[in-house]
């Protein structure tokens, strides 16, 4: 029974994160100053606005071996650049539809709104996404392509 509770060596997903500087990166920093713990699987790239995140870069990350991609921006209406996050949403929605066709699970590519005051939420979202991707297992796209050559 105890064995059922213990967790054995797990797969650790590699997730590329794009955090907008004004809300989500600040939120992540707040999680830090508040010492809220979360899994280390997401490494963040700081961008001024989630609107900088070109879907091509998401594809690039997946193709180069990421198990997931995490994009976070300000809540709609709070964007530092008026509505950059809405443009992100437009691109993301269409990308999602196309990734479905590629057979890449939706849990692997996520867009979340995290404000500068939501350190706790940031930690929760990261935890959730890490667990989701973990349970999906590795994506390892290069091998996927070669496997069916």
């Amino acid at each position: 029974m105890i064995a059922a509770i213990e967790v054995e060596k797990r797969f650790e997903p590699k997730i590329v994160g794009f955090l907008c500087r004004w809300c989500s990166y600040a939120g992540a920093d707040l999680a830090g100053t508040s010492r809220i713990k979360y899994p280390p699987n997401i490494n963040a790239i700081r961008v001024n606005c989630s609107g900088r995140v070109d879907p091509t870069l998401v594809l690039k990350a997946l193709a180069s071996g990421a198990d997931g991609v995490f994009i976070a921006g300000c809540h709609p209406g709070d964007c530092h650049y008026t509505n950059g996050n809405i443009k992100t949403l437009r691109r993301f929605k269409l990308l999602q539809k196309m990734l479905d066709q590629f057979g890449i699970e939706r849990e692997r590519v996520r867009l979340e709104w995290v404000s500068a005051s939501e350190g706790e939420r940031y930690a929760r979202v990261v935890k959730g996404m890490t667990e989701d991707v973990r349970s999906l297992g590795p994506l390892n796209w290069k091998r996927t392509v070669e496997a069916v050559a």
Binding site: K37, P40, N43, N48, R91, E118
Partner: protein, 651 residues
């Protein structure tokens, strides 16, 4: 090919305590183009900065990566030291291994591994950074102050005295704000209006201050140094300049309206002046409660004004739009009280003799509904037994406000003392959780009250208040004696918490200034930049940023003002050059980017090639993401660099 140096900070044990510094340094040293890597206990310290400086010289580095706290903390510090050491400041990158590594992961191995990747990322990026020069833009040397409470008044005066034009926007008919409603102030028991009044007049007379009452900020465009603000001013229907406040109009007005200044404890007319010392000293017609303007139904006020007064009224007045250009904005929007009817255990709104502290404040005031006498709203009798409940709906994350409003301990003590002075044979009880009297003379003041005769402090909370044959039964607990107590009171006063002004959310999104979890304006940094919003050019003063008392508010207002004066002291301002850029030979003029720019910084030139106006571009990068030919790029955050960082993470 660059010579990159990597500097890893211990930050005492903040980083070193949970990250294996040696490992991070060693691995960084093995990265391509890295010629030097070293660690230090405190890189931000003088010796730490000296280390960076010397190493740059010794190893003639032409780019550095500083692995330390979040760039939000010390990026400017380290960029400056890089510059002082002869590097271009944009050849310095920060790797955040504290807030996003050592502080958030339990396992040293995990935190170290992540820190290494973060450093690797920054190395890959800095290798591709290009040297940049800041962009210089002119500064509009005018200031907008939003909110005419004590914070706005102090800030406006300080900036105006500094010699710059100030627009002071106030939503109501007069400046003065909450402080004007107060009777006395702690701990000196100064008469509030006596110390506020003169300041209000000074604002009114100041040549550098343009006061816009009945006004609201409608739209904010632009950026630090160059904001374009649209303000909508509702008509007062009274010419401020001409009105001599004779009051004939109000005498003639047939419409009775509950007076919000006294929280409905008194009546006013539809045309009124909020209080005697109101500034501007002119009447206001409140169109909502007027019997009718369009079409004119009554017009008695105007008749009276033309007959006895200065004929200063124009009932056909229209709202005015002011388009202002300012270089800086000070948000001093103040506070409101938490809705006490939500605190059902106290029965506010059900029992007339349960009131909020601000209502009690008005009752204490000589200009208030009872001209300073303390009377029960229900029957006008003088209360003998009075109960003050501190922390009403505060420090209660589950049901009401999670935070402490900071000032209630003090004003409650003052209220209790004033009650004892006005009702010598009365008995006052104060329920408190603990006394927070940090401040000059505060503790002494509270002690004085606690030692007053007929004034009993009870440490504990009140469970419920209910009415039983004419008395308010207050059931609570005294945690010192460990007994439940019941007091049959005549009057109950709730120290309800402060919440940010109801407009602040709307205003914040116009200013693009972020709010904290409780709706107060966030500061750029709680310790290092408490007077500014994270959004450049927006400054903060008063209770709109967090609950605070008058001295603190005034201090913050003057502080914000001096920040603004510093900003305006030079006619130009340097902006980050990390903006969008077009590679002409790649652009096909497809025009996809044009409609995306929130700042209209993009246009097509004669050759059908896109152009970026660097003065307008804020560097958000949304145009870059949309450019199908890769002709648009963001300085020092190019696609090439993004890809390099992505690969640094996944490899």
């Amino acid at each position: 090919m660059k010579r990159v140096g990597v500097f890893v900070c211990h930050c005492g044990l903040n980083i070193a305590g949970n990250v294996n510094i040696k490992e991070v340094v060693d691995k960084a040293g093995k990265q391509q183009d890295v010629v030097f890597a070293i660690d230090h206990k405190y890189l931000c310290s003088e010796p730490g900065q000296a280390l960076i400086k010397d190493s740059i010289r010794q190893h003639n580095l032409d780019a550095i990566v500083v692995a330390a706290c979040s760039p939000a903390m010390h990026e400017p510090t380290f960029k400056t030291i890089a510059q002082l050491s002869g590097l271009n400041r944009y050849n310095c990158e920060i790797a955040n291994i504290r807030e996003q590594s050592s502080w958030v992961h339990d396992d040293v191995g995990e935190a170290t591994a992540k820190a290494h990747i973060t450093v690797r990322q920054s190395i890959r990026k800095v290798r591709l950074n290009e040297p940049l020069q800041p962009i210089t833009v002119p500064v509009t040397r005018k200031v907008l102050v939003i909110g005419g409470g004590i914070a706005g008044i102090r800030a406006a005066l300080d900036v105006a005295n500094g010699g710059y034009q100030v627009y002071l926007v106030e939503k109501s008919g007069t400046i003065g704000g909450r402080m004007a409603q107060l009777s006395e102030t702690f701990p000196t028991l100064d008469c509030s209006t006596c110390i506020l009044g003169p300041l209000m007049v000074e604002v009114y007379r100041h040549p550098n201050i343009k006061l816009l009452r009945l006004s609201k900020v409608e739209d904010v465009k632009g950026y630090i140094g160059n904001f374009k603000v649209r303000v909508r001013q509702e008509p007062a229907y009274v010419d401020e300049a001409k009105c001599n406040a004779c009051g004939e109009c109000a005498k003639a007005c047939p419409a009775q309206v509950p007076n919000e200044f006294d929280f409905g404890l008194t009546w006013r007319k539809a045309i009124y002046t909020p209080f005697a010392q109101a500034v501007p000293p002119a009447y206001v017609l409140d169109a909502k409660n007027c019997l009718g303007l369009l079409p004119q139904a009554c017009g008695e006020c105007k008749k009276a004004c033309d007959k006895f007064g200065t004929s200063c009224m124009d009932l056909d007045a229209w709202p005015r739009i002011h388009d202002l250009e300012v270089g800086a904005i000070i948000a001093s929007t103040g506070y409101e009280l938490y809705d006490a009817t939500k605190l059902t255990e106290y029965g506010y709104g059900i029992f007339p003799d349960v009131m909020t502290s601000l209502e009690f404040e008005r009752m204490l005031s000589a200009s208030g509904p009872t001209t300073g006498e303390i009377k029960r709203p229900s029957d006008g009798q003088t209360p003998r037994e009075i109960v003050f409940i501190q922390c009403a709906g505060q420090r209660e994350p589950e049901t009401a406000l999670p935070y402490c409003s900071k000032i209630c301990c003090m004003y409650t003590a003052r209220h209790a003392m004033m009650f004892r002075h006005k009702v010598p044979d009365g008995q006052a009880y104060v329920f408190y959780m603990d006394i927070r009297a940090g401040g000059k003379g505060y503790e002494e003041f509270v002690k004085r009250c606690q030692e007053e005769k007929g004034l009993l402090y009870l440490r504990g909370r009140v469970a419920k208040v209910y009415e039983e044959n004419g008395k308010l039964i207050v059931k609570g607990v005294d945690t010192l004696s460990g007994k439940t107590v019941q007091i049959n009171a005549d009057l109950v006063v709730l120290a309800v918490g402060m919440i940010p002004s109801s407009e602040s959310h709307e205003l914040a999104s116009k200013l693009k200034a972020s709010l904290d979890a409780n709706g107060f304006f966030s500061e750029a940094h709680p310790k290092l930049r408490p007077l500014e919003s994270p959004t450049a050019g927006i400054f903060l003063a008063g209770a709109g940023q967090s609950p605070k008392d008058i001295p603190e508010t005034v201090a913050q207002a003057s502080g914000a003002a001096s920040k603004v004066l510093g900003l305006l002291s030079s006619p130009t301002l340097e902006r980050e050059p990390t903006v969008a850029q077009v590679v002409g030979e790649l652009c096909s003029g497809c025009g996809i980017c044009l409609s995306l720019c929130p700042y209209d910084a993009l246009s097509l030139n004669a050759e059908k090639i896109a152009e970026v106006s660097e003065a307008l571009c804020e560097g958000c990068g949304t145009c870059i993401a949309s450019c199908p030919s890769g002709a648009l790029t963001l300085r020092n955050l190019t696609d090439e660099q993004m890809v390099a960082m992505i690969e640094a993470i996944v490899e």
